[in-house]
Point group: C2
Chain length 132, copies 2
DNA sequence: TTAGGGCTTCCAGTCACGGGAAGGTCAAGG
DNA sequence: CCTTGACCTTCCCGTGACTGGAAGCCCTAA
């Protein structure tokens, strides 16, 4: 399979697949014309990477997950540890964004949003009524 | 005030302040020795930017907010529109992350996490039992 | 033979800075 | 007067994970 076919099959853009080769995540063979030639295992790997990336794992985590995936003697706890760490990161991010949401919601709620210049949002950003 | 004092006063790193000058968010005066010289209004602006950035507004949004802040004839609805757009973005991101969290939570819950190689997390990433 | 699509590499840009080098400046102490 | 050390300056590279685009080769069909 050429890169275009693999892109269609895996859902990853050809650019991304080339990038993954650059950083050593996949090592497709090369034809005599210089074209990359992908086998089933390559396509499988790329689908794995696409799924892992869509779950928010970093490239380096994906690299580790892939190596664990290919290691028949791996321990599942090693995989679980990575997933738990990522889960914790996602939860921290959610909490952070929920704090932002609350603040933004308050600001928006208190701004009348008409043609007059008086604006509690700008007042807050300028530090008025908060700590200054 | 020199940049170090402003950094201490505003909470922004000196590097960030220089960057903000580079992209035209602040225009401090210069002393004869080439040092930046910040006035009260500059410090005020930087504090405004720091607060806006901490709320997750992009640099370009900050630029717009700052210009609205300095425009005595602004309409508060223009500010509110920016804040609402940002709020919507934050909410979309939260929803996305909550989806991720649910999936990751399930994966982690189903993995026994011991020394054996059998791992539902890797099985999922490889597409087994999901759609392949 | 030509037209088109697909493939290749390489370079630049994204966003909002941070790290670090090389060198000028300033205030205090000896 | 000189040195020391903290501060300031500019400049360039690196971050993460790609994306866009240019220049040019390859392959197939009409």
């Amino acid at each position: 399979m050429n890169i275009g076919d693999v892109a269609a099959a895996s859902g990853l853009p050809a650019k991304t697949i080339r990038y993954y080769e650059d950083i050593g995540l996949v090592r497709p063979a090369r034809g005599q014309n210089g074209y990359r030639h992908f086998r089933e295992t390559d396509v499988h790997k790329l689908a794995f990477l696409g799924r892992a990336r869509s779950l928010g794992f970093s490239i380096e985590e994906c690299r580790t997950l892939l190596s664990l995936y290919e290691d028949r003697s791996r321990a599942s706890k090693d995989v679980k540890a990575i997933a738990e760490e990522h889960l914790a990161r996602v939860e921290r991010k959610i909490a952070e964004l929920q704090g932002l949401r609350a603040t933004l919601h308050d600001l928006v709620a208190h701004c009348h949003g008409d043609d007059r210049p008086d604006c509690p949002i700008l007042d807050d950003l300028a530090g008025e009524g908060r700590d200054a």
